[in-house]
């Protein structure tokens, strides 16, 4: 079973697709979760997920915006998709009928 942050990271990487790399994933997590995402947490979680086979990383091309430094590109594997779906199913199943589900539905988006 994935951890909360692992799920957020996998989801952000899946959403970003071919544009998923360290800085963009971090930005996506911060936007969705509304809290700061530290570089330390991001990179150690990336390593952990890669060692579990849930995602793959490779070095991308350097860009002038980054001072000529490369990006660590991220791609979610089939095993990662499976793990994220299971986590999502478990969370939605668990949440069904609980008070805060109704409150979330009523709240203006």
């Amino acid at each position: 079973m994935l951890g909360e942050f692992e799920y957020l990271l996998l989801t952000a990487a899946a959403r970003l697709g071919s544009q998923a790399y360290g800085a963009s994933i971090r930005q996506e997590i911060e936007r969705a979760a509304g809290r700061r995402c530290s570089i330390g947490a991001l990179y150690t979680t990336l390593d952990r997920l890669e060692s579990k086979g849930l995602l793959k990383t490779h070095m991308g091309d350097p860009t002038p915006q980054r001072g000529g430094r490369p990006k660590r590109m991220v791609r979610v594997t089939a095993k990662g998709v499976q793990a994220a779906s299971e986590f999502y199913a478990a969370v939605t199943c668990m949440t069904r009928g609980v008070a805060w589900e109704a409150r979330r539905e009523m709240a203006p988006s």
């Binding site: 360290g22 800085a23 971090r26 930005q27 530290s38 570089i39 330390g40 947490a41 990179y43 150690t44 070095m59 350097p62 860009t63 915006q65 980054r66 001072g67 430094r69 490369p70 990006k71 660590r72």
Partner: protein, 290 residues
């Protein structure tokens, strides 16, 4: 961020693996974070990476089996060398009379004493350099932390071991502030810390190129450990006289033999340099690791 902040960040990021360093600094440049946020982020990552490394047994073995005994051995030897050479130095410098030079016996004794002192200084500097080299070459990822701890232990040795023996006969020498306080510190910085730092830097370069073979590292660690144990015991004996702890003949024979083994990594490097001179760089004596 200004240039100074980038320099600080770059220095901190040197504790990360080279491939990770580039991507992390790139992410920071792209996100436009403040210096404080960037420094906190990189510090957090460095701590996490080092913590993961120190979960294994190897860095602890290096720290307890090598860094601590080597630092103690060098600290004790540094103070013995400083105290030992302070006495003839005081004799010649503080009691100098040019007319003595007309005496052939005085000139011979001066030459002998100078040679003995210079050899002791050379030996101490060579030990320190070799120690730094071995430490730096052990593991690329932990060598900076171990190197920093080693240098810290050597620097603290000035304070911890800096009490010269208060022997009545040498009282005139150590009553002079320079020989009591400054001279041991000069020897410690010039012949121990500076060569050790140079050795650590050289060792880090070796570790990323062609590390020292494990058999040499294991032998060297065993030699240093036993020498440190004997030296600490003898150091205690000199401070707190106790017949049971008196250095034995067996120990002095062992120390004499181990004195030679300390230079094993230097001999290996020299042999490798000679081999590559005759057969090209590919004919080095060890295989590249990682």
């Amino acid at each position: 961020m200004n240039r100074m902040e980038w320099w600080l960040l770059g220095a901190l990021a040197r504790l990360l693996e080279p491939h990770e360093r580039g991507t992390v600094l790139g992410d920071i440049a792209e996100s436009g974070e403040s210096a404080a946020q960037a420094l906190a982020g990189v510090t957090g990552l460095v701590i996490r990476r080092q913590a993961a490394l120190w979960c294994g047994w190897q860095p602890w073995l290096t720290l307890l089996g090598l860094v601590v005994p080597l630092a103690m051995l060098l600290n004790i030897n540094s103070h013995q060398t400083a105290d030992g050479s302070a006495i003839p130095l005081w004799m010649y410098v503080n009691n100098w009379e040019t007319s003595d030079l007309h005496n052939a016996g005085f000139r011979l004794l001066l030459a002998q004493n100078a040679a003995v002192i210079l050899l002791r200084y050379l030996k101490l500097a060579a030990w320190s350099w070799t120690g730094g080299l071995v430490l730096g070459s052990l593991s690329r990822r932990t060598s900076r932390i171990n190197g920093a701890l080693f240098l810290l232990a050597l620097a603290s040795g000035v304070v911890l071991f800096g009490v010269p023996p208060r022997l009545g006969v040498n009282q005139p020498v150590f009553s002079v502030g320079f020989y009591r306080d400054w001279f041991p510190a000069i020897v410690q910085f010039g012949l121990v810390i500076a060569p050790a730092l140079w050795g650590v830097r050289r060792g880090i370069r070796i570790s990323s190129n062609r590390p020292l073979p494990r058999i040499i590292l294991a032998t060297w660690m065993a030699v240093i450990f036993t020498m440190a144990v004997i030296s600490v015991k003898n150091w205690i004996w000199w401070r707190l006289p106790n017949p049971d702890l008196q250095p034995t003949l067996w120990e002095s024979q062992l120390l004499r033999f181990e004195d030679l083994l300390v230079y094993l990594p230097m001999v290996y490097l020299a042999a490798r340099a000679v081999a590559s001179l005759f057969h090209g760089p590919r004919a080095a004596l060890s295989r590249p690791v990682n």
